[in-house]
Symmetry: C2
């Protein structure tokens, strides 16, 4: 469903361009949007950047991040094209955006993404599922458009690839992802500065929350299941938000012998959002589907209602079943 | 002080080769030793591997690790050459090794390392300070020797580079380090499997120790200093060892605004080993030198005696002084 040639030509012809990405944006969403935006500006285009939720604080160091607006209303006029990066579903850009897309204001809509999709929803598509990150696609797109890559562009694209490969640790870390990263470092991206900005900028309240949550560490099934709990009163006591629990599941996952790691986050008195991670033996996506959730084979989530002990029992019994069939 | 040509020729002529590295070995020490050893074997050489402390458990997955012996006595005969990797000081190979080196049993001694040194202590030297890891030097050395790199060799060398660049996050992450990593993945190294084996194999007791230690989190100087304490009774209660505190300093370091992170580890009733990490504004090596310690600009250590409160006061006052001169 990709239209490589048309995408390039449509961008070349566009004078006024809007760039956006999915809500609750991550490093790849922001990094690839900013990298592409700065690159297109150097071609003389008038570039506008929009993300419904703005730029998360740990990504504010990225060059150009101050240009991102979180209200579409504040961006006037019509656009020749609208580039939606790292997002196959225009419904995830933000409320109302999808309806407005057809209004003519946004020109030709173009989705640029490395995620697989069966029903792309824009006018044109640049989909490269083999790419480690959307940032990697943007790198090649800018090269195709003969954009000279500056240090600022390189920094954004390196941050995008670093984020989506989990610092080159996930299975999407291809030779090409590493080679593009090498080029970006040559162009001025600093791995140390970018990693520090992204990974060493946690709010203190998050570490205080972790201190409370880590006390709940529990291992079960001969050490093959490990879990943490984040109860509502922990959020209250530390002033932390639900978003601050991101990454907590890496603590139980880091333990030797653990196959499935879980975090139980209390959403209501008897409502629990569960994050699941697998080291490979158990498909946690299909496990989560039993409870109306979903995700990927190694990272999934679902929401269960009931008392914590009961919620655990129901989940653990499914995990035990899955582990039975594995050496 | 490097003798590139002679090193290559001496290795080519050698039939029986001993490989070793520094005590308390890390991923680069073991990975580059195993990668080089397996590579030389494919050239028909008889290869023996020695490390005084053996292979740490999180590196036992590396191909060839079962071949490493921790007693020199168990390896009979004489060697044509002895390759000491990731170690500029033969005194760090293990007690007695240095004295025996001159005995003739070890043949030509060759140091292969990426660390700087002023007084290399072997017969020949292959020192490349620009290399991210000794594993990167071994990659080029094997290429020079026309060794065909197998998946097992690639896995060892990728693990070496991954370890010494902190998963491509430290400032030694050069374009060349990333390009060599790309080649190694092409040759069969799996970033996901290697990262999981190295970073997700923590003993449970270590996480239990972290749970106790993280409660002691303290921030000072407007959030610019953060510290953890590991008291002796925490080790007793969890059955953890001193080595299990490795990486704890990353927790206070991960906090936004923190410039200097510290871990105080109790070595005796009134004796504290201090790990210091800087995000760049403070040179912790010179700071540690005030107390008889040392290290690098961003990672250093020292040992102080006294009550914890007193030890903290002495250190913090020096850090405050250093921070005064920084924006």
């Amino acid at each position: 469903v990709s239209d490589f040639k048309e995408v390039g030509e449509t961008i070349k012809k566009s004078k006024r361009v809007l760039l956006t990405s999915h809500e609750n944006p991550d490093g790849d969403a922001i990094g690839s949007m900013l990298g592409l935006g700065l690159g297109l500006e150097s071609l003389g285009k008038e570039v506008f950047l929009y993300n419904k939720d703005g730029v998360p604080s740990h990504l504010e160091f990225l060059p150009g991040s101050d240009r991102v607006r979180s209200a579409l209303d504040s961006i006037p006029g019509v656009f020749d094209s609208t580039l939606i990066v790292d997002c196959t579903d225009v419904g995830r850009v933000g409320e109302g955006f999808q309806d407005e897309l057809g209004s003519g204001r946004f020109g030709t809509s173009i989705i640029i993404d490395h995620h697989q999709t069966r029903k792309p929803s824009a006018d044109l598509h640049l989909l490269v599922p083999d790419a480690s990150a959307t940032g990697e696609i943007v790198y090649f797109l800018l090269r195709c458009l003969s954009v000279e890559l500056t240090k600022d562009v390189a920094t954004n694209l390196f941050a995008a690839i670093l984020s989506d490969t989990g610092s080159f640790q996930y299975s999407n870390t291809t030779p090409q992802a590493l080679r593009v990263a090498a080029e970006l470092v040559e162009l001025g991206a600093s791995p140390a500065e970018i990693s520090q900005a992204i990974y060493e900028n946690e709010p203190l309240r998050k570490i205080r929350l972790l201190a409370l949550s880590i006390e709940t560490l529990e291992v079960a099934e001969d050490g093959r299941i490990a879990s943490l709990v984040v109860a509502k009163d922990m959020l209250d006591r530390t002033g932390a938000s639900r978003a601050d629990t991101e990454g907590f599941v890496n603590i139980p996952r880091s333990i030797k012998g653990v196959e499935v790691a879980l975090v139980f986050r209390q959403e209501g008195d008897a409502l629990w959002k569960v994050s699941l991670r697998s080291k490979g033996k158990v498909n946690v996506a299909s496990l989560a589907e039993n409870f109306g959730g979903g995700g990927h084979e190694r990272a999934a989530g679902c929401t269960l209602s009931g008392e914590l002990g009961d919620v655990k029992r129901r989940l653990y019994s499914k995990i035990k079943e899955a582990l039975c069939w594995k050496a």
